[in-house]
């Protein structure tokens, strides 16, 4: 199954990349953008035997640095139903 993991900088952690993108949008005359934060999307293709708990541990041990980053795990709908 495909699992998507969104890794984003924590609130309050400066995101120079997001700032640069914001600036570029403004220079292209797009108005009304209040803020931009850039993050990462990591897609895993895992066996159905892999539990949410294991994915959570993968995030903590490698995929995100929780000193500066948050992560969200998105399971496919069917798997979500199974998990819930």
């Amino acid at each position: 199954m495909k699992v998507r993991i969104f890794v984003t900088l924590k609130d309050g952690v400066l995101d120079p990349q997001g700032k640069a993108i914001h600036h570029a949008l403004e220079s292209l005359d797009f108005a009304g953008v209040n803020d931009v934060r850039a993050g990462k999307l990591i897609e895993l293709d895992v066996d159905s035997s892999v539990t949410r708990d294991e994915i959570d541990r993968m995030c903590h041990k490698l995929l995100a640095n929780t000193v500066i980053e948050n992560f969200e795990i998105e399971l496919p709908e069917t798997a979500q139903e199974k998990a819930s």
């Binding site: 400066l14 120079p16 990349q17 490698l62 640095n65 000193v67 500066i68």
Partner: protein, 218 residues
């Protein structure tokens, strides 16, 4: 003093580090490949050099800090072996958890490559005893991810415990409290963004890095 330099795919300051260690100690350091799962025996000093290990994939230092040589390095740190991490080596040490905080993209997003004016914040360490108290020194920096971040509690603790070993005299990369290098609680693990191994010979343009290697090895 027996020393080793850990070499990762993408390390590019490993040979400069080896030259610095050999120049000061008179002994050739052992070059240790990241894929090894054991360190040579009898080491006093382990250097984790600068570069772009694993192409900075995922996060700077993230992949290297999970390679098989790191487990024995962490164990060696626990036994009191001196560990020096420079630039990417500092990033790797924070990723392993041997040092607190994280190194983020420079706040102005630019790669910075120049001589950095630094203050030696504490000269009563294994790494800085040969510097005069409150010395101002010049050591080159070359990095994209040198913006030191830690939460306020950790920063206060680092300062209260005199663990900010090097500080930029002016803003370099957005680092919290201008931190350029910190030491662990036990005092045997130093991480720093500036490159002391690039300042050990007059031909380098400066020799302010020499005292660090003399403190460490002599």
């Amino acid at each position: 003093m027996q020393s080793a330099v850990i070499v990762f795919p993408g390390s590019n300051c490993d040979r400069d580090m080896a030259v610095a260690l050999e120049t000061v100690s008179g002994k050739k350091p052992q070059m240790v490949w990241h894929g090894d799962s054991e360190l040579p025996s009898g080491l006093d000093v382990i250097a984790i050099p600068g570069g772009f290990s694993y192409g900075d994939y995922l996060r700077s230092g993230a992949m290297a800090s999970r390679s098989s040589i790191i487990k024995p390095v962490i164990e060696a740190a626990g036994r009191g072996v001196r560990i020096l991490g420079v630039c990417n080596g500092f990033q790797i040490l924070t990723e392993t958890g041997l040092l607190p905080g994280a190194l983020m993209r420079n706040s102005n997003i630019h790669f910075v490559c120049k001589d950095a004016e630094l203050e030696v914040g504490n000269n009563a360490t294994l790494f800085t005893s040969r510097y005069p108290k409150d010395a101002a020194i010049s050591i080159p920096v070359a990095h994209h991810d040198g913006n030191y971040f830690a939460d306020g509690g950790i920063l206060d603790r680092l300062e209260n415990e005199n663990r900010v070993i090097f500080r930029y005299l002016s803003d370099m990369n957005g680092s919290a409290r201008n931190i350029a290098g910190i030491i662990n609680e036990a005092g045997n693990v130093l991480g720093m963004m500036p490159h002391p191994e690039r300042a050990i010979d007059k031909k380098h343009g400066g020799t302010d890095g020499l005292a660090l290697f003399e403190s460490l090895l002599c």
